[in-house]
Symmetry: C2
Subunit: 204 residues, 2 copies
């Protein structure tokens, strides 16, 4: 019966942890804060998660899964593939801000949690490419696109949108990021999604 109890408490813990990380960032949040938030003893919390890193990883995993669910839902609505590419770019930007916010990560801090992130985001990138494939396939099914090497273009699309984020990543400490910086990146991502969407209509 332990595992049933366990699974009941986990969503509660993750929600509380997400809240605390988002408010104070990874570094300043303690296991105590999270236990307090849900009126749980620290010992009980440690029963579920051996340390803050594992809990953080689980929170990020949840966010990634949520993102994928959202995009899949949007794909199922039957929009044009260009709208899908744009929705993806917009939503990806929102989650990018979330991830930064959860960690309240400076570029310096990012280096420390990087091994953790690298592992999580490596698999995630594969899933993103699959999402992009689904979007392009939709374009083919709708009769909007034809004769496209879908995996190749899907991967390229994910790379391009990711590249725009990396430019920003590398140019400035994330802790110094302003709302204007986020807004500029968002606009660039959306414009790129539109250009890409139109650009692949014509056979090259």
């Amino acid at each position: 019966m332990v595992s049933a109890v366990k699974s009941d408490n986990i969503p509660l813990i993750l929600e509380a942890a997400q809240k605390q990380f988002a408010r104070y960032g990874f570094k300043k949040t303690t296991m105590n804060d999270i236990a307090d938030e849900i009126g749980m003893s620290k010992a009980s919390l440690y029963y579920y998660f051996p340390n803050k890193e594992e809990l953080f990883k689980e929170v990020i995993k949840e966010e990634l899964a949520e993102f994928i669910d959202k995009i899949n839902t949007i794909i199922s609505t039957g929009k044009s593939y260009i709208d899908l590419l744009v929705s993806y770019a917009e939503m990806r930007h929102v989650y990018f801000q979330n991830f930064i916010n959860l960690g309240k990560l400076s570029s310096e801090a990012l280096k420390n949690v990087k091994p953790l992130y690298t592992e999580l985001f490596k698999d995630f990138k594969k899933e993103e490419a699959l999402l992009a494939e689904r979007m392009l396939q939709k374009g083919v099914d709708n009769g909007e696109l034809e004769g496209l090497d879908i995996p190749r273009y899907a991967e390229l699309y994910v790379n391009i949108i990711q590249g725009l984020r990396k430019n920003v990543f590398m140019s400035k400490d994330l802790a110094d990021f302003t709302d204007d910086d986020y807004e500029a990146l968002k606009k660039q991502s959306i414009l790129t999604a539109k250009i890409f969407g139109i650009g692949i209509k014509t056979k090259l």
Copy 2:
């Protein structure tokens, strides 16, 4: 008269330095190697360049200027703007390989010369945006494009191509880069240039 003599020797030194850096990388090249290459005393070499860093900086500056000249020449030939965007992407890739090669830079080493690079490449990026503006303007002059916010699209184009390079930068140590990695990046850049070129034809 010193400055006339000085300017005569500088191209010779830069050429020799470029050769040595390309062969052995920044770290393993010594001022001695460079002086030997042109049969100059080490003291004379130091008369022109106070240290290896300054000499390296000058070599990179030369390469950047050469790249800009080449692109300007291509722009003047009167090709279609899409061909220009593609030529830029191709040539930019060649020079990216050159820069890496000159330094034989691992990501670790890159961190050390980063302040040097940052300064040089900041101005260079502005010049790249201007080159992209000239290419798009060509499209307008040719009657291929209309009603385009040229500075905005030019900046976006440079950002996208740069982003593709940065993805690669951040995913792998540059010292571990294989020919296949370069080839994959080159193909992605060229395909992106074509898609972007076609994509901006339609008003958004």
